[in-house]
């Protein structure tokens, strides 16, 4: 027999000014199953909570209803008090008579009646509460970092330095990401390679980090603390344990005219190659689509010159299975190529390049050894036009967002250009100069004031070629929208930052949500910026939205902090308010009919097929099983279950029907 205690709070005068609290208490005392009812000025205060604790003990209560503020406010407080009184903490319910009653209605009988109804509803609910225990889930204290750009490197090093194992997976043959392609970084103009490569080496040397390059995620199963990940390690055709990185193979490879991805097609590389001199690991990869041996069956020169005998033409992709407790997604971004822009010649003019190509031109290790020379004829451009917002903030192009980094890197490009071509002139077409960040505005001022970059506020409508010059036609909106024509030697488009290729497929493998631009979505835009909606999977860097280096690094350290918190305990504790499928003794096993309508509606892929077998191992039935580690307690499966076999703790069918009945049958 239920013995329920009802505690009506006055909340000072917040409730008692409009609701007759003693009257509600008096009426509640007569509800069936109510053994004790009282009212008090401040139920959440220390004496108020002691009152609850003592009443539970004294009246041998089996459940309590605290009739006060919103459960979103004080439910944890009274669950604790409930536990202190010796009850299961989940035998406590809050009746919200403040936000939903006293604060929104005038004093009167109708308001009192509403308060009474709310209390009656919760009394009927709490009678049907189950004692629940927090769910404990073991944690594998190894993190998986997907992507080896600056965000991935930061996250991996931070997690490893916290003493946990890290597995890093990088799609390309080397870690480093886009940052390794940059010449200098804003707003300090420090060399990108100089600050990044030591970190790359640290990753390779850290005993806690296991690095898989030229590898991709094949599949991900499991849940927070317990993910099982399959990694496809693509065949490099080189035995990594034997290769000493001497570089003989790359020098002797006769097939050298392949477009160099790292230089964005502005240089060539051999078929067996290391993407860039500071690559980590410094182990070459044979590009099977280009290698003469793979194409014609003849050559093998690399094999002949390789002293450690590391070339393996018969090497195959390897699938590696790992168990991890948390995943950091740091897969970065990509930029739109110049062929995306019909008005700028569909990429057919060689001297219209994108921002990343300019980085390579300006880089000391780039195809021109740091001299600004245009790709068509190697001349030094004396007039250069930078076009900011190429694609960004342009709904007509389907990219409404600001790519965030372009204003700053365009200013940087103008500065670098002036430092290298003293008699040159840089023009910048821009929409707005967005330089919000520490020392950022000062930096763009420097481009204008010290390095004489001509900023023209307006968009470029067209670029075409005339007599070997690129004619840039734009409008100057600060000069009455006058048409401006500039005869340029070279044009750099600050093209929009977009989601990396394969982002969508990866998100689907991980069950992480993504936005319409295929950027991964955070769990909450303000309060959970590095979490995803899938517990145990975190986001850092530009895979979430375009970000600059400091932001990416900050987010990566944030992720590392989150993962370190997760790994601080050997078990995870979760709220037990999750869904469960009915189970009974044989021969029924369950009322579940195995229709699996629940499976596709679950946003967390928490519903599995469980095979019920007899003692001879024959399959008897297939039943739905909800993985308690994955279930987040939305209850959508409960509503679709036709056999009413699924129920959700805290909001069981019995509780909800009882609440409705109690409300209306007064």
């Amino acid at each position: 027999m239920a013995r329920i205690g009802v505690f009506i709070c006055h909340c000072g005068e917040n409730i008692s000014a409009t609701v007759d609290c003693p009257k509600v208490s008096e009426v509640a005392a007569k509800f069936p199953g109510v053994a004790f009812s009282t009212d008090y000025k401040y139920m959440c205060s220390d004496p108020g909570q002691s009152l609850v604790v003592n009443a539970i003990k004294e009246h041998k209560l089996t459940g309590i209803v605290v009739s006060a503020c919103s459960p979103r406010m004080h439910e944890p407080t009274f669950r604790r008090a409930c536990a202190e009184g010796g009850l299961n903490p989940y035998q406590c319910e809050m009746a919200n008579i403040r936000e939903h009653c006293s604060w929104v209605h005038e004093k009167g009988d109708k308001t009192d009646q509403k308060a009474i109804d709310i209390v009656r509803m919760m009394v009927e609910k709490v009678k049907r509460n189950n004692a629940l225990l927090p769910i404990k889930v073991p944690v594998t204290k190894t993190a998986l970092v997907i992507g080896g750009g600056v965000a991935g490197i930061q996250a991996a090093l931070d997690i490893a330095n916290a003493g946990h194992k890290v597995i890093m997976v990088e799609r390309d043959p080397s870690i480093g990401g886009h940052m390794s392609q940059l010449s200098e970084t804003f707003p300090t103009l420090d060399c990108s390679q100089c600050i990044l490569t030591p970190r790359m080496v640290e990753v390779a040397q850290n005993p806690n980090i296991k690095l898989y390059t030229y590898a991709e995620i094949e599949s991900v199963e499991g849940f927070v603390g317990n993910f099982n990940v399959k990694i496809r390690k693509k065949a490099k055709s080189v035995d990594e344990t034997l290769c000493n990185g001497c570089g003989m193979c790359t020098t002797k490879c006769p097939n050298k005219k392949n477009p160099n991805e790292f230089e964005l097609g502005m240089g060539n590389r051999p078929a067996i190659y290391v993407p860039f001199p500071q690559a980590v690991p410094n182990i070459p990869v044979i590009d099977k689509t280009q290698c003469t041996y793979y194409k014609n069956g003849k050559c093998k020169i690399c094999e002949k010159v390789c002293q450690p005998k590391a070339i393996r033409f018969d090497q195959e992709d390897e699938i590696i299975e790992v168990a991890v407790g948390a995943i950091a997604l740091c897969t970065g971004f990509d930029i739109k190529k110049t062929d995306f822009f019909p008005e700028y010649g569909y990429g057919k003019y060689k001297d219209i390049i994108d921002g990343l190509q300019f980085e390579r031109l300006a880089s000391a290790s780039g195809p021109t050894s740091g001299e600004i020379r245009r790709p068509s004829d190697g001349q030094v451009p004396k007039k250069i036009v930078f076009v900011a917002c190429a694609g960004s903030r342009d709904p007509a192009k389907g990219i409404e967002y600001c790519s965030k980094i372009c204003c700053m890197y365009t200013a940087k490009h103008a500065i670098l250009y002036k430092h290298k071509v003293h008699d040159g002139q840089a023009y910048i077409f821009y929409m707005d100069i967005r330089a919000a960040g520490k020392n950022y505005d000062e930096f763009t001022r420097r481009a204008i004031e010290e390095d004489q970059a001509q900023y023209i506020r307006g968009r470029v409508s067209r670029i075409y070629e005339r007599d070997g010059k690129l004619i840039v036609v734009g409008a100057d909106t600060l000069m009455n929208a006058q048409t401006v024509e500039i005869e340029a030697d070279m044009v750099v488009l600050a093209t929009a930052g977009v989601a990396n290729k394969g982002a969508e497929e990866l998100a689907q493998k991980l069950h992480v949500s993504y936005d319409q631009h295929k950027f991964f979505s955070e769990a909450h835009p303000k309060l959970k910026p590095v979490e995803t909606n899938t517990a145990g999977i975190y986001l850092a860097g530009a895979c979430q939205s375009p970000k600059d280096i400091p932001e990416s690094v900050a987010a990566a350290s944030g992720v590392a902090g989150k993962i370190a918190c997760l790994f601080a305990n050997s078990e995870l504790t979760r709220e037990p308010l999750i869904a469960m499928v009915d189970r009974q003794a044989p021969p029924m096993y369950s009322s579940c009919t195995g229709c699996f309508l629940c499976q596709p509606v679950c946003p967390y892929n928490a519903i599995e097929r469980e095979e019920v077998k007899d003692r001879n191992g024959n399959l008897v039935r297939e039943l739905a099983f909800i993985n308690p580690g994955l279930c987040q307690g939305c209850g959508t499966c409960v509503a679709v279950c036709k056999s009413k076999s699924i129920d959700i703790e805290g909001y069981t069918n019995l509780q909800m029907y009882a609440e409705v009945d109690a409300l209306l049958n007064s």
Partner: protein
């Protein structure tokens, strides 16, 4: 005879509309006393059988409200709720339940004013429709007695 006071039951999700109704309270915006709020984790949890149950138990009107599309705390529960609501609405029409008595809406945690508006308009609409006694009596009366 005093004016008919409809009984309205609101089925709301915990994350958006319940919090939105909390905000109505903290903003001290007044609205009709006729509504009783039942909290669910998500609109996706709402079993539409409960709506017929509520009418049978004496409700004159029902509000179902959750997070706006794309705002669901559980990413997609509100979409399932909306999809089932479209089907359920047609079924109600077919069965002869007056669908004007059911209001389906989105109220976010920031829309305290909207919550008060929805309650007030629903109460007024249902007041015009009058008590839903016919359904109530048929579904609960002990006919054989």
């Amino acid at each position: 005879m005093s004016e008919f006071e409809p009984k309205i039951v609101a089925f709301v999700c915990n994350w958006c509309t319940y919090a939105g109704a909390d905000l109505t309270g903290t903003s001290r915006i007044k609205y009709a006393t006729n509504v009783r709020i039942v909290r669910f984790p998500c609109t996706g949890r709402i079993d539409y059988m409960l709506l017929t149950k509520a009418f049978a138990s004496g409700a004159d009107g029902i509000i179902v409200s959750g997070c706006h599309p794309n705002d669901c705390h559980y990413t997609s529960g509100n979409f399932h709720a909306r999809r089932r609501w479209m089907v359920f609405k047609k079924l109600c029409d077919f069965m002869g339940i007056d669908t004007r008595r059911i209001v389906f809406s989105w109220v976010s945690a920031a829309e305290g004013v909207k919550w008060a508006d929805i309650v007030n308009t629903t109460v007024e609409e249902v007041r015009k429709l009058g008590p839903y006694e016919s359904y109530h009596k048929l579904s609960t009366q002990d006919i054989l007695a």
